[in-house]
Amino acid sequence: MAEIPDKFDAIVIGAGPAGSASAYYLATKGFKVLVLERGRSPGSKNVFGGRVYVAPLKEIFPDFEKSAPIHRWVTRERMSFMHGNELVSLDYEGNDHKSFTTYLSQLAAWMALKAESAGASIVSDITVTGLLKEGDKVIGIKAGNESVKADVVIDAEGVNRLVLESTGLVQALKPSQVALGVKEVVKVNPEVLANEFGLGEGEGMAWSLMGDVTSGLPGGGFIYTNKDSVSIGLVMLLDSAISGANDEVYKYVERLKTHPKLSKYFKDSRIMEYSAHLIPEDVSSLMPPRLAYDGLLISGDAAGFLLNLGYTYRGVDFAAYSGYLAGKAIEQAHGLGGMSAANLLVYTKLLDQSFIMKNLKRFSGTHKLMRNRRLFTAYPAMMASLMRHIYSLDYESQKMFNTVLGSAKENGMGPFTLLTDGIEVMRYL
């Protein structure tokens, strides 16, 4: 029988995408890793929108495409603006396998299994409640009145950072920093996927919706097609929802699902699961002051690593890749002689060089853009009236330019507003 070590090389808090990616990397490099998961099994507490970008995951797990639970490759992207019963949509059909749909519960379970097969110990049913410290140095974790020691701890506890909060490394979340995502996974008839969504075998759709979906509140709706189900939900910035949501949030999802233009996609459907999750939004204010301390690295949602571009989200690949980089940083720090803050600083460097920080810096203004209410109210309305003027004709047709200006004016926007909003969108997106 194997012996229980007095001290692990590394302890990972949370068997989500970030935690399992780092555990997998470290285990393959021969480190003695312990992963502590608060759920009954890995994946049982994980929630996301519905789509994952594949490139970073292929780098972490070389055999990813062969055995990961990929439901459908996203071959069709759709962006819709909703105004009353009108829907203006933009469709893009590609053939690339850049992103796929899945259940995160399944994907996270798969990742944890990879880590376990590589030699990591995965212990579920255990909620980490704090960090074990010696002076400023983190030397392990606490779970209630028990503790385990390790040379380094990777905090991948997710967006609700109860461990980091208890240690005083971060403040409690503020409504302005996060968005609330609410989602239903709905079993649909296979014919609906083939006929209404127009999808072939293995083909998937990612659909984002703006406007009346959220009753004009900053945020948007999303629809993803899974193997034999559809994920439908919406995201609302929490501070706007506090002041602006007049109804209970689940009703917005139900309304979206039963919208006259969408209900055909949900004919004969049955809810399989209902879930909700907080989403890092204002990343720069959410990010802990440091990501590497003496004996501690922070990754995934806990570090605030999520990109919301309005039309798409990137969370799972960011989380997994940051966990992977945390693993690499530990490997390098080990080579340098130990898990001191100075040695672990390489984590920050690896992040800065990666697509994670490059993207987060490039799109650091989208958070401000999301505060422009017109994007969620006037513009969807304008898009609808523009299309109405162009297509919904009785006799006379209008010139396009006049139609644009006319539609803008109908929705309370003059040419100057259009111009400044246009510049703002160009700048931030």
Binding site: M1, S44, G144, E146, S147, D268, R270, M272
Partner: protein, 267 residues
């Protein structure tokens, strides 16, 4: 006597706090329903752990189930159970209670020594409460059910058995089998130390028919005389909510009875 050697029998059952019927097909939705240790067996586990604390000894969790039940053993080890035995073989699949107790009896006989078999009052998914009585019969040992308390007295076991209107006290010889009254012993939480031991040391033994060498005509589906003649789906009754206010308890009860009569639930 040097402590009690306890066998804790349990079942790994679908978590049926949600039983949903597909509105389109009228069939039970089983997809993705995770399994849990039968909650009533958790009372038994707690009971066993308390006895071990009092008298010392050892607890072995035992189950006849497909290999995924290892996760159930791991959960019980997390509570503090010492080791586990998983009895698994394709030839044991599809068993009713008779074929199950037959195999469990053989499994228990492989143990060097046991003083006490403890299990839950019944299972969440079938609620037959057969196993205790059948197994005690196979092993020819005393059996007491609905037990709430137990203590040792000169090598014998003194137990309290809770009935609706009274408590009975029995003194039985060991080895014996008891089933624990449901909800009588809320389970303790999982501890990190126990869970670490479970995951790293994996103190779980597997038994198959290679070891037990049972006649497979008496195990699994073939050894099961139970025939499910028919199952009926009772259509879901939509929930209604009415709040009763400003009524005395007597008035409220009378109101409730008349309401239930109106709905056809009472005659």
């Amino acid at each position: 006597m040097m402590g009690l050697n306890i066998v804790l029998l349990f079942k790994y059952v679908p978590n049926t706090n949600t039983v949903n019927v597909d509105p389109n097909t009228g069939t039970l939705v089983r997809e993705g329903v995770p399994s849990v240790v039968n909650p009533h067996d958790l009372d038994a586990a707690e009971f066993a752990l308390e006895l071990r604390e009092k008298y010392g000894g050892k607890i072995t969790a035992m189950i006849m189930a497909p290999p995924n039940a290892t996760k159930g053993i791991e959960f019980l080890l997390g509570m503090g159970v010492d080791d586990g035995v998983l009895i698994t073989d394709r030839a044991y699949g599809g068993a009713d209670t008779l074929a199950t107790s037959y195999v469990l009896a053989a499994g228990i006989k492989t143990l060097e020594h046991y003083d006490l078999i403890i299990t839950g009052q019944e299972t969440l998914d079938s609620s037959t409460a057969h196993i205790g009585a059948q197994l005690a019969s196979w092993l020819k040992i005393p059996y007491v059910y609905y037990v709430t308390e137990a203590s040792l007295d000169n090598g014998a076991l003194v137990v309290n058995r809770q009935l609706e209107s009274c408590t009975e006290k029995y003194k039985v010889k060991l080895p014996a089998l008891i089933t624990v009254l449901m909800h009588s012993h809320p389970p303790r939480p999982i501890t990190l130390e126990n869970k670490l031991r479970a995951v790293i040391k994996k103190p779980v033994m597997m038994l198959t028919n290679n070891e037990l060498k049972l006649n497979i005509q008496c195990t699994g589906l073939r050894g099961s005389p139970t025939v499910v003649a028919k199952t009926e789906f009772v259509s879901k009754i939509p929930r209604k909510k009415e709040i009763i206010k400003d009524k005395s308890p007597q008035e409220a009860a009378a109101w409730l009875i008349s309401k239930l009569k109106d709905e056809g639930f009472l005659n």
